[in-house]
Assembly symmetry: D3
Homo-oligomer: 68 residues x 6
């Protein structure tokens, strides 16, 4: 009964991509640890780029510097 | 000074229900472990059904199959 | 399919008390939100008193001041 | 490569304040543990006051009693 | 710069299996969301079976009933 | 009433360093957001290097390559 939490920045992730992450993590846990998919939970958190910091600055600031 | 995090799917949970969860968990920790309510924190996260996976699929997909 | 994480200080919590917390939280979610117990997960983290801070000091320091 | 998660109530925190938290935590980890800023992640979660409990009540209820 | 937390029960997981989980999750995030592996963090928590509850009982109790 | 979780690798962090982290984070939240120290919680998790992954490998493997 694994519980997996995936935190990513909130940058236009589609429902299909979320589905692919959930499917992929669940399969991985079955393959590596023989965990039954029925009781594997996956929770995806999309975090605003103002609320995620790396290198002491927000990802919003980083994206502006990258011209994105 | 316990910290409790409750993650549930975001499916029309009312303010009254949240209050009941917070009250109930705080009382439980006082009853079982003698923890003072004043320093018990409870944080409820409501997770979009597209972002919660079980059995390798999203809860959105599960609800569609259940006709909900 | 709720997921609940309870963080408490590591101060001689017994297996019976852990069982009571798990049972109590699971019942609470069934009573308040009609969540089926079979898919409610509860994870208890016991945190060393050196690793838990409140009021800017560790709980270890707090307990020493309290004569515990 | 530290990972820091800061949970605060969602009460009009500005982008400048978030930046100050990210900068401050990253510097602290460099000063105390010599952790390189480039691989320090900070995630800030702003939690609705209906979803945060303390003393068995929601922060929304607490704020109303405080006349805020 | 994703952050992934995998919680599993503490039941003799080997270093090789942990490596396979870390490798697999990192590849998945690169494949699905184009996230650079260098800044993907994965943290595995192994939780004692007394501290994990499902269906209102501890996994320790569940394992005893399963004759494990 | 902020809650802060700091995850670092388990590499000989002293009680004095933990105290400095707790003190520093608590002061930061008071300075930036005017949060009262008495209700700021900080929890430090020390994660085994086998259980922390970055760049698709464990920190244990990374440290071996670095000759540490």
């Amino acid at each position: 009964m694994p519980y997996v939490n995936i935190k990513i920045t909130d940058e236009q992730v589609t429902a299909q991509q979320k589905q692919a992450l959930i499917q992929g993590v669940t399969s991985l846990l079955e393959r590596v640890l023989n965990k039954p998919p029925a009781t594997t939970f996956v929770v995806i958190d999309e975090v605003a780029t103002d609320n995620w910091g790396v290198g002491g600055e927000t990802v919003s600031a980083l994206r502006r510097r990258q011209g994105k």
